[in-house]
Amino acid sequence: MNKLNPDVTRPRGPVVIDIENITKDYVMGEEIVHALRGVSLQIHSNEYIAIMGPSGSGKSTLMNMLGCLDTPSSGHYEFNGRDVSAMNDDELAAIRNREIGFVFQTFNLLPRANSLRNVELPLIYAGIDPETREERAAHVLRDVGLGDRVHHKPNELSGGQRQRVAIARALVNNPSIILADEPTGNLDSKTGEEIMALFENLYQRGHTIILVTHEADIARHARRTVHLRDGLIESDDLAGFRELEALALT
């Protein structure tokens, strides 16, 4: 089990994400829901981290914060040294475009566009010229093993291939982090393992990966696991990983 050989002692890179005591409240009709009650978290470059927790734990809310899709009610969030918590919509959009690669459970590909066009999308929003766009999109598609599926539309691809297109799209702008939300949730376990192998490969090549999942099987691929419960971090250490490792070895 080579994948279970953790490089926990590997020196970590600079801090990419620095969250300090953030909270998020939602008004749901009459009552206020405290989705996050004060979460602090630091994520370094080239980490492979899993965020786990049952539904209602604030996992999705934290992911939205990390992905700059939402801003916290209070607290401080720095992304690569920039204060994200006070940014407006368009500034957040620029951060998402350049710094974050999203991988969704449901792939979220544009149905009428072929793989190449789907992967090009973030580059269009980044203002890259058409030639460079095509070249880079084709390059990452080859990278994820879809060099022969460049002109296929999503409905001509298998689930695993679709997720690979989505991963290529996440990678194409060279983001600081890859944020994957239940990336294997809609795949069978064999295809899921293939996707996880791809993430492992990306991690080995130096990418920073944040995995949001409720499946322990999936989370064990990460080198660090953060457990959330009731809007708070229940545990955040490498021990979680070791426990899983121990479990797997017995």
Partner: protein
């Protein structure tokens, strides 16, 4: 800037793909715009036609001719004040001409007497009723412009002698001489024979109200010999410089007062008319017809615009998740706004283009079938309707596009 261009071209691609994949829906929605554009364009061509006809009718009066008559060319509320005025006499022309000749630097050139009455005209068994019979002098051609289909106008000699010759209008010639040529034939007016020496080419009608081709012109002395009863005289005065029309009018007023022998305390008992005055009376009528027409046909375009707005709202709703994805990938508000605006605009442009083609074909058909129907298709109209289409798209697409651009990415991504 570069990014804007890329986003723009991306949005066009999406819009076209979107229309292709929702063929039925797009066609039906565009249909509303098509009907609207056809209606507005046809109305536009009709208005253009009316304008051309109006200008043509106005041109007949000439912009450098003053008309001295008993009545003013406008609606008057105190008609009784005009009714009892002394008649205008054709002899005034001589007096006027004498005074014009004596005035150094006069603004006036010449005064032409005319006298008109409505009569029937006969040739063998054919008869035309209600023809404008006008007696005048050979200099009439100075103030009235028309071409001859055949023949000529009467000359100075015929004019002074009052020869029994006449020039007939196109309609009169057409009715009395359907096959043979009318020149040198003798027609009967009031039982008197007149030799036809010329036929005026088609002039059309005045604002479509009455034909300008139903006319007979003859030398004044001949006219006076037979038709003085109930005839109405009018003096046509040619102006030297049409930019000094007001001066000319003042001068003519003074001359007319002298001719009439009016003491200074009395008001004018004649009216000096001109094309411009007529125009300013008729312009508001014409314009209100145009505005009312455009407004009513514009309503159909408005209905089309509502259809566009509706379908864009549906499109935004359907693609909420796509909007969320795009936002997650870095699309800014403006990008999303632009995308949906372009979609609605593309739909409107498509509708506008098809509608315009239809309108063009219809105009062409109408023009072929009824050549006299006032319809006018112009490049300006094409441009205007394309602009209207784009504006319709932008306006009707704005509310849905704005909604889309304001969507919260988290909510949008979660939308199923």
């Amino acid at each position: 800037m570069k990014r804007f261009v890329y986003e723009l071209s991306e949005s066009w691609k999406i819009a076209v793909a979107q229309m292709r994949s929702n063929m039925t829906r797009s066609t039906l929605t565009a249909l509303g715009v098509i009907i609207g554009i056809v209606a507005v364009t046809l109305m536009g061509t009709a208005i253009g036609g009316i304008q051309v006809g109006f200008d043509k009718s106005m041109a007949i009066f000439g912009d450098d001719v003053l008309y001295v008559g008993q009545w003013p060319w406008k609606n008057v509320d105190d008609w009784w004040n005009y009714r009892d005025r002394r008649k205008i006499k054709t002899e005034y022309a001589e007096g006027l001409n004498r005074m014009i000749a004596m005035t150094p630097n006069s603004n006036l050139t010449i005064a032409i007497p005319t006298s008109s009455v409505y009569r029937g005209i006969k040739y063998t068994d054919s008869e035309v009723n209600n023809v404008l019979v006008r007696g005048t002098v050979s200099d009439y051609l100075i103030t009235s412009t028309f071409d001859f289909k055949e023949g000529r106008f009467f000359n100075d000699l015929e004019s002074r002698d009052g020869a029994n010759v006449c020039v007939i209008g196109y309609d009169v010639a057409d009715a009395l001489f359907p096959s043979a040529g009318p020149i040198d034939k003798s027609v009967l007016i009031n039982g008197q024979p007149f030799k036809v020496i010329g036929v005026i080419s088609r002039q059309g009608s005045f604002l479509g109200l009455f034909s300008l081709d139903s006319i007979v012109v003859m030398p004044l002395p001949a006219f006076q010999k037979y038709f003085t009863a109930k005839s109405e005289a009018e003096i046509l005065v040619k102006v030297k410089d049409k930019t000094k029309l007001a001066d000319a009018k003042d001068e003519l007023t003074g001359l007319m007062r002298r001719v009439r022998g009016l003491p200074s305390e009395k008001k004018d008992d004649f009216s000096i008319n001109e094309q411009q005055a007529l125009k300013s009376t008729l312009d508001p009528i014409k314009n209100s017809i145009a505005i009312a027409g455009l407004f009513i046909t514009g309503l159909s375009l408005f209905v089309g615009a509502i259809g566009i707005m509706n379908i864009t709202f549906v499109s935004v709703k359907e693609r909420t998740k796509e909007i969320g994805t795009r936002k997650a990938l870095g699309a800014r508000r403006r990008t999303i706004l632009l995308q949906f605006l372009i979609e609605s605009t593309a739909l409107c442009l498509l509708g506008g283009f098809i509608g315009l083609s239809f309108a063009y074909l219809m105009c062409f058909g109408i023009g072929k079938a009824f050549p006299s129907f006032p319809i006018r298709f112009s490049f300006g109209l094409v441009l205007a309707s394309m602009i209207v289409s784009v504006m319709t798209g932008l306006i009707s697409g704005f509310a849905p596009a704005w909604t889309a651009s304001r969507l919260d990415p988290v909510t949008a991504l979660r939308y199923e």
